[in-house]
């Protein structure tokens, strides 16, 4: 892990000079700003049951679907397309360090972007002068959910990027995996296909892996260790697969 921080600072720097980062950031902030203003409009018209933070995080999946691929599609695919992975891996660094550094940089940026939406709430509390709008529980829970689920989403993106040397393919693959994870599983949970007795264990597993339910729990202030474990183990698995994928591609190149 000697070179991890050298690689990490290099990766963060590379993300900060790349145009796709700023496009992702701009689209993200524009969309979240739009969501936030429409929430405020609704709240000013009719009294609502839940706090604005809770509604705000309901739309987390949309920016995730386009932002995560944009942040991660480049990381390993580009290295392989340009061939720079060869110069990188002939220095005394390990594949693990390279993959972790790329993961770390993408995750850092992902968190930084989400943190910038915190300004929305700050402005709201500052100008409304009403602390009710700034309900700390859902807010902290929501950001915690973003941080924890982001671990898995970014890991999936890195994995997708390790599979292809084409960035577009990596991005589409990543978006599909995240879509499958969030909506595919929730559709499966609602479908009657798993109603048979034999499929009960599968049903349990699917019920356990409901990202939307997790979000609701988190924004309600419930931090369940089983859910944390779900994201952490998923992340570790995806990163291990990315490392193996990079190494397997070397063996067969």
């Amino acid at each position: 892990m000697k070179h991890f921080f050298t690689l990490l600072s290099h990766e963060i720097r590379m993300l900060l000079v790349s145009a796709s980062t700023y496009i992702a950031a701009m689209l993200f902030l524009a969309f979240m700003g739009f969501v936030f203003t429409s929430i405020l409009e609704n709240y000013s018209k009719v009294a609502q049951e839940v706090s604005p933070a809770q509604t705000f995080f309901q739309f987390f999946w949309f920016p995730v679907l386009f932002m995560v691929p944009m942040l991660t599609m480049k990381c390993l695919a580009e290295e392989r397309r340009l061939g720079t992975i060869e110069t990188l891996l002939t220095t005394p660094v390990t594949t693990t360090e390279v993959v972790l550094a790329k993961y770390g940089a993408a995750y850092f940026l992902y968190l930084a972007l989400w943190c910038s939406t915190g300004v929305f709430f700050y402005i709201l509390s500052k100008f409304s002068g009403d602390t009710r709008f700034l309900d700390a529980g859902p807010l902290i829970g929501g950001y915690l959910f973003i941080a924890v689920s982001g671990l898995l989403f970014i890991a999936l993106g890195v994995f997708a990027s390790s599979l292809s040397r084409n960035q577009a393919v990596a991005a589409i693959l990543c978006a599909t995996m995240i879509f499958g994870l969030i909506f595919g599983l929730s559709w499966l949970a609602g479908s009657s296909a798993l109603n048979r007795e034999v499929l009960q264990p599968v049903r349990d597993a699917v019920d356990y892996a409901q990202v939307i339910t997790h979000r609701d729990d988190f924004t309600r202030g419930i931090v369940d260790t089983r859910q944390l474990l779900f994201y952490l183990s998923g992340t570790v698995l995806a990163i291990i697969f990315s490392i193996l994928s990079v190494e397997a591609k070397l063996l067969h190149s």
Binding site: T87, L89, P92, L251
Partner: protein
Amino acid sequence: MPDTPAIEVTHLVKAYAGITAVNDINFRVARGEILGFLGPNGAGKSTTMRILTGYLPATSGSVHICGIPVASQPDEVKRQIGYMPENNPLPEDMRVSEYLYFRGRLKEITRRKLGPRIDEVLELCDLKRVRHKIIGQLSKGYRQRVGIAEAILAEPPVIIMDEPTIGLDPHQILIVRDLIASLRGRMTVIISSHILPEIEVTCDRVLIINQGRVVAQGTPADLRREVLGKSTYQVELAGDPGTLPPVLAAVEPTLQVTAQGEPDAEGFRRLTLSTERDAELGEPLLRSLSAPPYRLRSLSRAHPTLEDVFLAATRRSWDVKSSDLRKK
């Protein structure tokens, strides 16, 4: 262990799905030596180099760099080498000095030493003017030199460069050649190239490989003798070539006319003589051919270039291959 060879390769085999890219290669390179790697496209040059760097695993055989086995201690080996891959891949959106700094840190040069070392390397490779430019905007010659600068940055004992002079103009080739020559004695260098005169001028020893096998190795002079096995002379002579063989036999029994041209307006024709003997026959030839009935206008000993050697060596192995096929 200063007496261990810098590179030692024994029975190296690399097989991809169904194809044997490198087939039982053996060679060793002494410290401070410059080895040229020659071979047609797809001969296994790049594969061999990648195995040397520890980037690709070998199917069988062993490689030692400075006495360290590549297969079991790849990390240690990577500290001993500077590698410039084929086509010299570089990140597009970094500045030259930033790139060298990043690479230097990865190669475990301390921060304090890195600054002066980068200046030194930029000076050596004549890159001072472009140090703040973005690599993606540099011309091919500069990019190539950035790659070389990167390879020698950490002053490793072994430098491996895959086609370092490809795409350079003659002036830049000269700079690169001088640069490589300046490393002689301090670092062991392996370069592969298609440009044969390049190799001939720069390298102490040449290794010709074809279809994954070493077909010839030695100094350029050795190779000429070994592969071509004879020396040839060009003469321009007036007189009847039919009466030549006894005259030539008197000079050297194996001397023969291998080609003869048509006589020009003054009756001189160009003849090619060849002999198995390596010794200089210029003087006796001159004496016997300038006497009547012959008139001699010019005599020169043809120096086979490495190109001839290369073509002869690779053709030889093709012949072997095709006869193998016929047997089956």
